[in-house]
């Protein structure tokens, strides 16, 4: 389990000599690829173009002037199932899209990992679960996921009409997989949508997302 521990030599090669002045300097680098600075709340939401299940590419930029919700998902994840099997997620999708909000469901599972689906499978899931997204995006390479720093399923983002990221984090304040916890939870996404629609600042703009790890390659 222990992450790769770089030798001092390789660490110094990486960071230069600025740190060796005082005492011993060492650092531990977990085995992870460089992850560019993810999207920050309050800043312009990074643009992306990813194929939808229809086969046609979808760009965030094309929804400028509309409120956009991004939902990272993985249909096998117990935390996602909590919100789909109780109808919580679909209800939110319906309420949002009914008010003109664009809802993009994103699947970043890479091929061969849990949650990876083909376009027909994805569409079948939408039908069978009575989901109501504007589009389902297959981010198989994890491009959009890494751009937004999506770590969990579900992981939710709200972009306002000006293209600014105004919410990033969990769907609600009950970080469990228990279905019973949907009742009475404070739904952060619903609150954020109500705030942006009313032209008010989002009260809780950043929360810790909870759920399963996004299955990047």
């Amino acid at each position: 389990m222990s992450p790769a521990l770089l030798t001092r030599r390789s660490f110094l090669a990486r960071t230069g000599t600025g740190l060796v002045l005082a005492g011993t300097t060492s650092a531990l680098l977990p085995a992870r690829p460089a992850w560019a600075a993810p999207a920050k709340v309050g800043e312009p939401a990074p643009g992306f173009t990813v194929n939808a299940t229809t086969g046609s590419p979808v760009s965030l930029a094309s929804y400028k002037g509309k409120i956009v919700v991004l939902e990272w998902t993985n249909h096998d994840c117990p935390y996602v199932r909590k919100h789909y099997e109780t109808g919580n997620m679909q209800g939110l999708q319906r309420d949002a899209t009914g008010q003109g909000v664009v809802w993009l469901t994103v699947i970043s599972s890479s091929e061969g990992t849990q949650g990876y689906v083909t376009p027909p499978q994805a569409d079948e899931l939408t039908t069978s679960r009575k989901a109501a997204p504007t589009a389902v995006l297959l981010d198989t390479k994890g491009v959009a996921g890494k751009l937004y720093g999506a770590t969990n399923t579900p992981h939710m983002y709200v972009v306002d009409k000006a293209g600014t990221l105004v919410y990033a984090g969990a769907i609600d304040d009950r970080p469990t997989s228990r279905r019973a916890d949907v009742q009475g939870a404070n739904n952060y996404v619903r609150a954020a949508l109500e705030a942006v629609t009313a032209g008010q600042p989002v009260k809780t703009p950043v929360t810790r997302a909870y759920g399963c790890t996004v299955k990047y390659s």
Partner: protein, 710 residues
């Protein structure tokens, strides 16, 4: 991980051979559909005792055995995941404490980072039995445990755990789970003995742990597990620097902008290379917002200003008062002289102060550069210096009493030079004033000196010299401005009376210094110092008595007097080498305070109690005055009791790197320092400690205490 493997072996062996009354874990229930197959985690409930003593508390542990390749989670699960929970279903009257987690491991998952456990872990809870249990009965303890277990995919699992234990009056014997629980308790992070602080920028968070004395070469690795999400990027590189001051750790900032608004808690795991392998230690740290390694946020100009003001006020501090008397008399004596002479005396005095400050500050900086954890007033941590100072002030007092004629040649060096009418006399009066002033910390001085010690030598010396200039300034001003001197009374016979009267503050100082020696070198040291003072007095009397005698007698008397003083000087190192009194186990019976230790402070804070810490030293007059005037007042004692404030006393009379480092974390290098650690309210993070003024009054303390919400 060696420990964990060892623990695994232990557990395996133990469980195989034990008839533990625990139900096997159940597979996930129908409520949470999961992929088919056996549970990835099997849980059992362990107890450290084999029987229950009514009214007692004991540890139980949820033992998770985790399938290879899978992991469960810590309280902060990292980038994803969920910490395990237990809902206890205990018989009436029983109480269960919170889940206590052993130190976690890092679990890298692609670009993400989780914090949790592999192979196995024991999550601890302290149970308290009610008093009214009947011996001979059997009690079933249990609850509903739920956890998330992940490999690439995550599965929520849950199980009922139970354990049946007989009720037996009297001390129970160790239960079958005792060894496993003991092992797990050792892996629970202990309260950090070191203060910590952090600094946040939009890009990074830097945590500084004041852990002096770590050997950098022996530290194999350091990792900080943040207690909450959003503070630092969990998966980011942690750049670790270890030097004499401690550990500095820098990591990319997390996503929650408000995360750095409050204290930063977490677990610092240090793996140290020992001769027989590596040992990993985990410390629960709470880093307070502020100056991570940057020192107190004062500008040089502000520090110089504070130092000058501090030096001025130093003239009025109790420890400088005796020397002030010498200056006052000298000034009056020089008042008749020409302005030029007076001016030169003023300059010589100032030079004496400044040179002495430079010497003391230079020594302090050099020693600190060498790694010594010392601060202002450090000279008085040496009983030899205290003894020498007692001798000098005593000789000076004898001189003022009239036993030694001013200008006599056989007196102690400092006094002789200080009393010499020439400019050298003025110079050494300045030096003496400085030496006597060092134990005192005046208001404003603490911050300035604390700042100085974090600066490069040139800036540090400048601050110390500003302090010296402040000390010398009143006398210098009087000597430079003739108009002000006219305000002084004319010289006359009153000077003799005044000089005799002023001897008494000096005797008082000597008495105080002897008391300091008693704290440093015990009763034997005191006896030797007193004999030394006696010899000095005898020598002075001999010298004085022989003044009118024939030259032959005078020479003999002088010889004896010199021998007497030499004997006193020879006694000083012996006195200093005497053993200090055996450290007492605690505060004197009935005292309102407890001795300070970082562990005790951490413990009290974890219990949510407000704490008042008095950083003091026997050689610090300001500290003693504050204690007498403010801290021991009935109103303060009553307020402490009423608000449940625990009063800890950190005694810096002798050197202590531990206390020096705490002072350093508040940007100080000397005592007194008074800190109120407010109580934690509910589950909120504990509020930051507040520093009280260095000159305490009853109302200052009462006001600070009243602000405490309890």
């Amino acid at each position: 991980m060696a420990i964990r493997l060892l623990a695994a072996a232990l557990f395996g062996g133990m469980l195989a051979g034990s008839g533990l009354a625990a139900e096997p874990a159940r597979a996930p229930t129908a409520k949470s559909p999961a992929p088919p197959g056996p549970p990835r985690v099997s849980v059992t409930l362990l107890s450290e005792v084999a029987s229950i003593e009514p009214g007692s508390s004991f540890w139980v542990g949820i033992h998770q055995r985790i399938a290879p390749g899978w992991h469960t989670y810590w309280t902060n699960p990292g980038d994803s995941g969920e910490p395990p929970t237990v809902d206890w279903a205990l018989p009436a009257g029983w109480q269960a404490g919170p889940l206590v987690f052993p130190q976690p491991e890092r679990l890298p998952i692609g670009p993400l980072m989780g914090f949790g456990y592999t192979n196995e872990v024991v999550l601890l809870t302290r149970l308290t039995a009610p008093e009214g249990l009947t011996a001979g009965t059997t009690i079933r303890l249990g609850g509903h445990a739920a956890w998330l277990v992940c490999e690439k995919i995550c599965i929520p699992e849950e199980a009922e755990v139970t354990l049946a234990l007989p009720v037996v009056a009297g001390k129970p014997v160790a239960g079958a789970g005792a060894a496993a629980i003991e092992q797990a308790r050792r892996a629970v992070p202990s309260p950090s003995p070191w203060p910590a602080s952090f600094r946040a920028t939009p890009e990074a968070v830097t945590v500084s742990v004041t852990a002096p004395g770590l050997e950098p070469d022996r530290i194999a690795e350091v990792w900080f597990f943040p207690g909450r999400w959003g503070v630092i990027d969990h998966a980011a590189v942690q750049e670790v620097t270890i030097d004499r001051a401690g550990i500095t750790l820098r990591a990319k900032r997390g996503l929650l902008p408000t995360a750095t608004d409050s204290d930063l808690d977490g677990v610092l795991v240090i793996r140290e290379r020992l001769d027989q392998g590596q040992v990993s230690q985990a410390f629960a740290i709470k880093a307070v917002a502020g100056s991570a390694s940057a020192g107190p946020s004062l500008s040089l100009v502000a520090a110089l200003g504070l130092a000058l003001a501090g030096g001025l006020i130093l003239n009025l501090m109790p420890c400088v008062l005796p020397v002030l008397s010498i200056k006052a008399l000298a000034l009056v004596r020089h008042a008749e002289a020409s302005p030029g002479v007076v001016r030169r005396h003023g300059l010589a005095y100032t030079a004496g102060v400044l040179v002495c400050f430079a010497v003391v500050a230079g020594a302090l900086l050099a020693l600190r550069a060498g790694g010594a954890q010392i601060g202002w007033g450090f000279q008085l941590q040496s009983p030899l210096v205290v003894t020498a100072l007692a001798y000098v002030l005593f000789t000076l007092a004898l001189s003022l009493s009239g036993l030694l004629a001013i200008g006599g040649r056989l007196t102690g060096v400092g006094q002789g030079l200080a009393a010499r009418p020439g400019y050298a006399g003025s110079f050494f009066t300045g030096a003496l004033a400085t030496v006597a002033a060092t134990p005192c910390t005046a208001p404003f001085m603490g911050a300035a000196v604390g700042y100085a010690l974090t600066q490069p030598p040139a800036a540090a010396l400048a601050v110390f010299e500003a302090l010296g200039l402040g000390l010398a300034l009143p006398f210098l001003a009087l000597s430079l401005v003739p108009a002000w001197r006219r305000l002084l009374p004319r010289p006359g016979p009153w000077m003799k009376r005044l000089s005799q009267a002023l001897a008494f503050p000096l005797y008082a100082s000597v008495a105080w210094l002897v008391w300091v020696v008693s704290r440093q070198a015990g009763p034997d040291g005191v006896a030797l110092v007193l004999v030394g003072l006696l010899l000095i007095a005898f020598g002075a009397w001999l010298h004085h008595a022989a003044r009118g005698a024939a030259p032959r007698w005078r020479r003999a008397a002088t010889g004896f007097a010199l021998a007497s003083v030499a004997a006193a000087v020879a006694l000083a190192p012996l006195a200093a080498a005497s053993l200090p009194p055996a450290p007492t186990a605690g505060a004197p019976a009935g005292a309102a305070w407890e001795p300070y230790s970082p562990g005790r402070l951490a413990e009290l804070r974890m219990q949510g109690k407000p704490v008042f810490v008095n950083f003091t030293a026997a050689w610090c007059i300001t500290c003693l005055v504050n204690e007498r005037v403010a801290l021991r007042s009935p109103a303060v004692t009553e307020a402490f009791a009423r608000k449940g404030v625990v009063y800890l006393k950190a005694d810096w009379t002798n050197r202590s790197a531990e206390i020096a480092s705490v002072l350093g974390s508040f940007g100080r290098s000397g005592v007194p320092l008074y800190v109120v650690y407010p109580a934690r309210v509910g589950q909120a993070a504990a509020p930051e400690p507040r520093v009280l003024p260095q000159i305490l009054t009853e109302s200052t303390i009462l006001e600070a205490i009243d602000k405490e919400r309890l």
